[in-house]
């Protein structure tokens, strides 16, 4: 062996939060405590956009919708680390609504790949909460892979004609702007043939959006784009280079999703730790039994590992390091462990946690969605395999 220990370059050394990050954590916790409880989460399940107007406005006023948007475009210009700290708290309260879709996926897409004109047009509105975005990427096979895209964009006299049917478009009914992926050439490999477009939702007829009834808060829909004409300046980034942009947008979103999942996992562990101390059987708190202690210990251990893996991936993205290995590890891990932790929490809660009335199921349902969003564990295992040289 001539090389150094191979894990060395993938290592972590100062795992503490900066003052700014601590401040964001504290203000997020305060905000959630004051404004978001499980009644609100339940009420929003039958709401159009998933966010009450004044809550959505508050998220913008706190500077959170624009957290990732550069200061020059009216945002707070913070890094993915600060966003992760915030999303962890949102995940811990199961905050409903289009925040993730807009402030993470949409903001990254436009801020990193938009033209000056697009940035000026869309980012200030996104920061103010007046513009909500939705990613229209997946189609039939629903694989998080460039080959999934069969939709086409063909050049027309005054721009482009879009055709195709997208599924799992989050928050489609409430979106103002779609980020639409289409093939712009039929010859090459899918990764060399995609182009992204920004599509004003007003161009679509409301009948084009068919809601999917999914378990969590994503408000997915199928959206049909049928010979939809859009102007030439709707192209996001470069024609034919859509996949490299989209991959970046998806990577940032994947890491951010891990942070949100971390928050949900933390909440499930906290609820369990509280419950097993309150619940009494055989004349004492069930938390005194080793069988209960050990399952709870396992859950807490999985959570702590998830924290390390998630923040390591996020730090690497924020610092511009090579993150492929660590991001895939983090999502593969969280996709397995967030549901595992929820199962453990249910087991420790017994029958009461199985009821709709109990809050635990909110997080189990979040886990059911998050585990497959931006690629499930198997998807990310294949990336790990590539990184391992297998």
């Amino acid at each position: 062996m001539d090389s150094g220990y191979p894990g060395a370059s993938r290592a972590g050394m100062d795992l503490s939060l900066t003052d700014t990050q601590q401040l964001i954590r504290n203000s997020a916790r305060d905000f959630m405590t004051e404004n978001i409880d499980s009644d609100y989460v339940r009420e929003m399940e039958s709401h159009d956009t998933g966010s009450r107007e004044e809550i959505w406005k508050s998220l913008a006023e706190m500077g959170w919708t624009g957290l990732l948007v550069p200061e020059s475009d009216g945002g707070a210009g913070m890094s993915l680390i600060e966003m992760a700290v915030l999303l962890e708290e949102m995940g811990a309260t199961a905050l409903p609504g289009p925040f993730f879709s807009s402030a993470v996926t949409g903001a990254t897409a436009i801020a990193e790949f938009g033209s000056d004109k697009q940035k000026q047009e869309f980012l200030p509105r996104l920061v103010d909460g007046d513009l909500v975005t939705a990613l229209a990427f997946l189609e039939g096979s629903a694989a998080w892979d460039p080959g999934v895209v069969q939709a086409t964009a063909t050049r027309a006299e005054d721009g482009w004609a879009l055709s195709g049917s997208k599924v799992f478009v989050p928050g489609a009914a409430g979106a103002d702007l779609f980020i639409f992926a289409a093939r712009t050439s039929q010859d090459g490999a899918p990764e060399d043939s995609l182009t992204l477009f920004l599509v004003d939702a007003k161009r679509l007829d409301s009948s084009a959006i068919k809601a999917l009834d999914s378990i969590s808060d994503d408000r997915f829909a199928e959206v049909d784009f049928e010979d939809l004409m859009i102007p030439p300046d709707a192209v996001l980034g470069e024609v034919g280079e859509g996949w490299s942009a989209l991959k970046r947008i998806l990577d940032v979103s994947t890491a951010a999703k891990c942070a949100e999942m971390l928050g949900g996992s933390r909440k499930a562990v906290d609820m369990t730790v509280d419950f097993v101390q309150e619940r009494s059987q055989f004349g004492r708190a069930i938390g005194t039994f080793q069988a209960v202690q050990h399952r709870t210990s396992d859950m807490a251990t999985d959570l702590e590992v998830g924290r390390q893996l998630t923040y390591k991936a996020i730090w690497k993205i924020a610092e511009g390091k090579d993150y492929a290995h660590d991001l895939a590890i983090a999502k593969a891990y969280m996709s397995e462990k967030f549901p595992d932790i929820c199962y453990g929490a249910h087991q420790m809660h017994g029958a009461i946690g199985f009821t709709q009335e109990h809050d635990l199921q909110i997080f189990s349902r979040r886990a059911a969605s998050a585990r497959v969003m931006f690629g499930d564990a198997n998807h990310h295992r294949q990336i790990i395999a590539e990184q391992m040289g297998l």
Partner: protein
């Protein structure tokens, strides 16, 4: 937040790896607890480490150490373990010496620290007894006050390297009437004294690595009491303040995993395809890498907390639980991967990967038992870490 070593730390790693690369191959892939031949090599490397100052890398400068940061200690352990270089002295430099620095008398420090630093002595640890395993504080080895001496009678068991040690630190009961934690004292003794007898215990891998040590009215001078009489339990607990990230486990597992990946890529199965193309094999290799990364992350978290002066109670137990399971899992998979050849002992005709997978699979059964079983670690996580009430 910074998930990366500093330049200074990376420079240290590079220097260390260079040194390891230059080391004679005879000193690599050596099992420290193994044969007499391996043990002799371990002692030779220990001398080299002492000459470099690395044997006492983690000691404070005032005791002749290099005063290295927690992260440098982690790097040192990582590279030494990854490259299977023997010679680190766990009992002397990492357990007894730090304890003496905090609780030892001036005379004790002067007498015992320099030979440890020079790699000249071998200590062993007399803690467990036949009837005191997880419930260590119930130990019964009795030390009776007799003027300026204690007279010690009882036995210690699972005492690693006692057959090669010239000294032992031992927990004894000095007050049988006190509550169990408050009647224990911490004593130092030579092993070549009247009344001490060391009997070998052969482990399931066929190695003589641990022993039972019998004490029959052994006279130990009171000058060899460390800390106060009856405070030995708390003296022993001092070790918690020193590096205990458990980085050894992921480093050892990564080494084995890397060997298994190479083996799987270079060995064709019955289909004519490399084993690494087999779906199930790939899946297990990937999951082991996730497990290694998980465990390494926990180890770094423990070290990071210690760097900042925090006590990683639950985190250290998490790292130990994960790490020991990982090392078992990776070797168990190694044996699986070798199929029928997996059962061949080291040195056997036709054995693959030198028979190391089998040897380590058997040897690592002990990992989830020693130094606090997995069950005890989970109790610690639940009670000290999560605040659950004791049963």
């Amino acid at each position: 937040m910074r998930y990366e070593f500093t330049t200074e730390e990376e420079d240290f790693r590079a220097e260390l790896v260079d040194w390891i690369d230059d080391l004679d191959d005879d000193y690599k892939s050596v099992s420290e607890g193994g044969s007499d031949d391996d043990w002799a090599k371990a002692l030779e490397v220990r001398k080299m480490l002492a000459d470099k100052g690395w044997l006492t890398l983690h000691w404070p400068v005032e005791y002749g150490g290099l005063g290295a940061s927690m992260m440098k200690q982690v790097i040192f352990t990582e590279e030494m373990v990854y490259h299977s270089i023997p010679g680190r002295d766990g009992f002397g430099t990492r357990m007894l010496a730090p304890t003496l620095m905090v609780h030892g008398s001036e005379e004790q420090r002067k007498e015992y620290l320099p030979p440890i630093a020079k790699g000249e002595v071998q200590w062993c640890q007399g803690y467990s007894e036949p009837n005191s395993g997880s419930d260590l504080a119930s130990l019964q080895t009795r030390a009776v006050d007799d003027g300026d001496q204690y007279v010690v009678t009882g036995s210690k068991i699972w005492t690693s390297q006692a057959h090669r040690a010239d000294h032992i630190f031992v927990l004894v009961r000095t007050d049988p009437d006190a509550p169990k934690h408050r009647g224990i004292s911490f004593l130092l003794s030579e092993t070549d004294v009247p009344g001490i007898r060391v009997e070998p215990i052969i482990n399931m891998a066929g190695h003589h690595a641990f022993n039972q040590v019998f004490f029959d009215e052994v006279r130990i001078p009171k000058a060899n009491l460390v800390g106060e009489e009856n405070r030995g339990w708390y003296v022993a607990a001092t070790l918690l303040d020193f590096e205990r990230s458990g980085i050894d486990y992921p480093a050892q597992a990564q080494r084995t995993l890397d060997e298994l990946i190479e083996y799987a890529k270079g060995t064709n199965g019955v289909t004519g395809q490399p084993l690494s193309q087999d779906h199930d094999t790939r899946r297990r290799l990937i999951d082991l890498q996730i497990q290694v990364d998980s465990t390494r992350g926990m180890a770094y978290e423990v070290a990071d907390m210690q760097s900042r002066g925090e006590i990683p109670n639950k985190e250290a137990s998490m790292a130990k639980t994960l790490g020991t399971r990982l090392v078992q899992d990776v070797h168990r998979f190694g044996v699986d991967l070798l199929g029928m050849y997996g059962q061949l002992r080291p040195g056997s005709y036709l054995s693959q990967l030198d028979g190391r997978m089998l040897d380590a699979q058997l040897g690592t059964v002990a990992y989830t038992i020693f130094a606090g079983t997995t069950e005890i670690q989970k109790n610690i996580i639940a009670t000290r870490g999560l605040g659950l009430p004791r049963g």
